[in-house]
């Protein structure tokens, strides 16, 4: 290595070094030849070059290089020579003695001397500790195997380059900044890389969930495998690393494992010397430790309770330190940090507190087609945090506004569009109003990129009579695709029409400008596959939605992607998460399924046993002919389910936006009026439909004759058996607004009744809005429409039916059995507090 500094060289050229033998100046000894140590010396030299005699110890055998540029070296974008900050000449020119490759091993504060690994002892007047950080190594079996490394210094990079030269697979543990850079470099070097990250989103400390999700998607698009929520159990191999095993049993073969889960201040030297150390070496505002002759700077220190792992605070500290050493007293006041990086060509920026909270307002911009996400958090008219993804050009501007604490109320409307726009607006004759900004656009300015619609075309469309967003979408397609220009179109409407704008269709909730139907259509059209993806692509205005939109999105995705979509438990209402009905006192009621309302001694006995065993205060027959056991505690639910499962009973889904019950009468088997086996049909219908998730609860009934004892004409789907076949009824409701069914049609066979039922349910599942029961849905779309899809279109009906049955092939798993077997059992139990007794 060209810049390797050998001790011999120092000895050989000793006569030339600008350190007189009898140098009477105070001796500053620096432990650490990294970015902090050398920067501190640079700052000192800039203030008073001749004041101190300086000796720097470095553990690594190199001159001072830029550690944060190791990633480009790994990626092959830079050479080591290009990341050197101060070359050998700098040390020589400034009379600094560099002792490289010989780490300091002890500090004797009484004698005011340090000793190094090679046994060298050097006396100091002032000592500066700049030992930086050590990589955190998670204590799993196999962590010491050859091939398991951290990503901290040039040696690590050399090891990675050597491993990459042989090809194969690498695992990077840690999806933070460093880990992703390591993964990127190794990918570029041709390795197959898997990133294992413990948390659910990448870089969770710097990015919010939306940005983390974008990053993950982009990295996956670049060929990396990203496993979030993944916990490393062990690293295995015979004499050399061979792979990583996760706690969930997954096994990832690898010939190289890079651990980049974090760093911690390297404080052992200071600690052993008896200096005050908390998380880092504690220092005052001039970076002086508990010993007035010992200073410390950089990642190894703790100032005012803060430890920093970024480079910007380091510069601040070095300035304050040099001021202190040269008798100036500015003092370090802590740093506000920002993170800006580029991984695999992806720009990411974050600053300040972007977690939101009380009094904070989020301004969010999502531009799906450009892959841009921006979120600025404003509190009391001042920026307190920002997250930028994809376009970080304005990061510095937001950071500046944040640091200065500037009042942004004047430019708030334009803030999210960035400095150019906001400042342009401000200088453009007070054009702060976004409407005015749109008004000054030229006629050929593009409004809708997806459909290539210009401002002139939108205005022409409005002039031709379009007076709502929907009408514009229908008339000229502007804002009809990704929707990112919706705000512009709305402003144009306001500019052209003044107060005559018709309010748009009702939106799903306050988090979006889209209505339910638009969201459903776009989910399918754009093949969206997760809630964060929908929120990103459809420009949600909140970080993670609300209790209205999240359950709806979860259902829409579930319906659109049967068997594929991973259900989001935290987006389900408590009843569906607990698979039981929450009651007013916080206990739950449990309803086992009784197919078609039939039961037997074994089931009744099991229910009776559960009632006694768990001291249930009430058991009641429901309106849907099932037995409801009340007063079960959350903790007891899994055991109750296990007992009911043991008697062959599964969940009745009495709690869900799903098929509830199929109510029956006794039909031809017992009833003297019964014309068909309505009980048997009811059982068959329930066997076909149970477990299906719906926009809202769904009830079915089958009556054996027109006397209609099962009350089939107030159900979502009802069958009334007659001599000649089966009357099918839809859209009934016995709830707040009682509604009798519409007759859909009459069919001749039981199989047809089942087929039409499946097709109707699927049409409802695919087209109704979340929390819209069949009655209002049918009143909205008209029963003729339903007939046109189910009765008059044989092929369409068959397609709906087969989509329903396909979906059912994934849905008919008993959620009770899964829970009783232990899935998510901890969610039923309280956390066990430790050390509670001590007082």
């Amino acid at each position: 290595m060209e810049f390797q500094v050998k001790d011999e060289r120092r000895t050989d050229s000793g006569d030339d070094v600008l350190v007189p033998f009898e140098d009477v100046r105070e001796h500053l000894v620096v432990v650490g030849n990294g970015m902090a140590g050398c920067r501190a010396v640079e700052e000192l030299l800039a203030r008073d070059a001749g004041r101190y005699r300086v000796t720097i110890f470095g553990a690594e055998p190199y001159v001072n290089y830029n550690r944060i540029m190791l990633s480009p070296v790994l990626a092959g974008e830079k050479t080591f020579e290009q990341i050197v900050i101060n070359d050998a000449a700098w040390y020589d020119d400034n009379g600094i003695e560099l002792i490289a490759g010989d780490p300091v091993t002890g500090i004797d504060r009484a004698a005011k001397a340090v000793t190094s690994q090679s046994g060298r002892t050097v006396h100091y007047d002032k000592l500066l500790i700049a030992t930086g950080s050590d990589p955190f190594i998670i204590p799993v079996p196999g962590k010491d195997l050859p091939g398991v490394i951290s990503f901290r210094d040039m040696k690590d990079v050399d090891t990675m380059l050597e491993a990459a030269g042989k090809g194969g697979s690498a695992v990077v543990i840690g999806g933070g900044l460093l880990g992703l850079e390591a993964a990127h470099g190794l990918t570029l070097r041709g390795m197959k890389v898997t990133v294992i990250h413990l948390m659910d989103t990448l870089m969770e400390r710097q990015l919010d969930e939306a940005a983390g999700w974008l990053l993950k998607t982009a990295l996956e698009g670049r060929g990396q495998t990203i496993l979030t929520g993944a916990n490393t159990a062990e690293i295995y191999g015979e004499g050399q690393v061979e792979g990583v095993r996760l706690k969930d049993g997954r096994d990832i073969p690898a010939s190289l494992v890079v651990m980049a889960v974090g760093i911690r201040p390297a404080t052992s030297l200071a600690r052993e010397a008896g200096l005050e150390v908390n998380r880092g070496i504690t220092v005052d505002d001039h970076m002086v430790t508990s010993d007035p002759d010992v200073l410390a700077v950089g990642e190894c220190v703790e100032h005012d309770g803060n430890v920093y792992g970024l480079v910007a605070p380091l510069w601040d500290m070095c300035r304050s330190l040099a001021d202190g050493l040269t008798d100036q007293h500015t003092g370090y006041k802590g740093s506000v940090t920002s993170t800006k990086l580029k991984v695999a060509g992806l720009d990411v920026f974050s600053v300040g507190d972007f977690s939101g909270g009380e009094g904070c307002e989020d301004i969010v911009l999502r531009d799906a087609s450009r892959g841009v996400y921006k979120r600025v958090v404003v509190k009391d008219d001042r920026i307190v945090g920002a997250v930028l993804y994809g376009d970080t050009a304005d990061g510095g501007w937001y950071f500046d506004l944040l640091k200065k604490g500037e009042d942004v109320s004047d430019i708030r409307d334009l803030l999210i569009f960035g400095q150019a726009y906001a400042v342009l607006g401000a200088s453009g004759g007070g054009a702060l109003d976004p409407k005015a900004a749109v008004a000054v656009l030229s006629d050929d300015a593009e409004i809708c990129g997806c459909n290539g619609v210009s401002k002139g075309q939108v205005v022409a469309c409005i002039d031709a009579g379009a007076c709502s967003l929907d009408a514009v979408r229908a008339g000229c397609k502007a804002s009809a695709s990704c929707g990112s220009c919706t705000g512009l179109v709305e402003n144009l409407l306001a500019v052209v029409l003044g107060d005559d704008v018709k309010s748009g269709p009702k939106t799903m909730c306050k988090c979006t400008s889209f209505g339910h139907d638009d969201v459903r259509r776009e989910i399918v059209a754009q093949d969206m596959r997760s809630i964060p993806e929908v929120m990103q692509k459809l420009h949600w205005s909140t970080p993670d939605g609300c209790s209205s939109c999240r359950p709806a999105l979860n259902y829409y995705l579930l319906c659109a992607l049967p068997g594929d979509y991973v259900d989001d438990q935290q987006s389900r209402f408590v009843n569906e998460r607990m698979h039981a009905n929450i009651q007013k006192d916080g206990t739950y009621s449990v309803v086992p399924r009784m197919w078609g309302g039939l039961t037997n001694p074994r089931e009744l006995r099991a229910i009776a046993d559960v009632v006694e065993k768990y001291d249930a205060p009430m058991v009641k027959v429901t309106g849907g002919q099932r037995l409801d056991i009340f007063g079960i505690k959350k903790e007891d639910l899994p055991a109750v389910w296990a007992d009911l499962n043991a008697a062959g009973m599964v969940s009745g889904h009495a709690y869900g936006k799903s098929l509830r019950t199929v109510k029956t009468c006794v039909g031809s088997e017992w009833c003297r009026f019964g014309t068909q086996d309505s009980t048997g049909l009811g059982v068959k219908i329930e066997r076909m439909t149970w477990g299906s998730w719906m926009p809202h609860k769904f009830k079915i009934a089958a009556s054996g004759c027109p006397r209609n004892c099962a009350e089939a004409t107030i159900k979502d789907f009802g069958v009334v058996c007659v001599d000649s076949g089966y009357e099918l009824h839809v859209g009934g409701n016995g709830g707040i607004h009682v509604r009798a069914t519409d007759l859909l049609c009459k069919v001749a066979t039981e199989q047809e009744a089942l087929d039409y039922c499946a097709a109707f349910i699927q049409l409802y599942r695919e087209e109704a809005r979340y929390l819209e029961r069949t009655a209002p849905w049918i009143e909205r779309v008209g029963v003729d429409y339903i007939k046109s899809r189910i009765v008059e279109d044989d092929a369409g009906r068959e397609a709906l039916r087969s989509r329903f049955l396909y979906s059912q092939s994934f849905s008919q798993e008993d959620p009770w059995a899964e829970r009783a077997a232990g899935a998510n059992s901890e969610l039923h139990q309280p956390l066990q507090p430790i050390a509670i007794a001590a007082e």
Binding site: E209, G356, C546, V574, D585, L827, A835
Partner: protein, 111 residues
């Protein structure tokens, strides 16, 4: 750490979810983990009709009560919008990889 009670790790609580802690008092404490991994602790009762907030849908830094959909701010315990009422909060922190709740506040809240 005499003034803080160790109740577990971040991984014990689902993101956008909550777990409860049962102390010696009558009331449970609900510890919430938000989408951005912030922690909050509240008495597990909605100020409206004592609904178990731990079972509500967590969104942003709020939770929707599972009984009547009141929105409670996790930081202050205050009902949002037009609703009025407040649930006591308990200081909570993450340190050394563990979650801690403030003992005196927790004891008082659970009583």
């Amino acid at each position: 750490m005499t003034d803080w009670i160790d109740i577990g790790t971040l991984a014990d609580i689902p993101q956008r979810g909550a777990r409860t802690v049962q102390l010696s008092g009558e009331k449970e404490i609900a510890v919430f983990r938000t989408g951005d991994d912030q922690l909050f602790a509240l008495v597990n009762e909605c100020p409206h009709k004592k609904g178990p907030l731990s079972q509500g849908i967590v969104h942003g830094h709020s939770v929707a009560c599972p009984l009547h959909n009141w929105n409670i701010a996790l930081k202050t315990g205050e009902a949002q919008g037009n609703d009025e009422g407040c649930t006591p909060t308990i200081a909570v922190k993450e340190e050394g990889g563990r979650i801690w709740i403030a003992r005196p506040m927790a004891m008082q809240a659970a009583a």
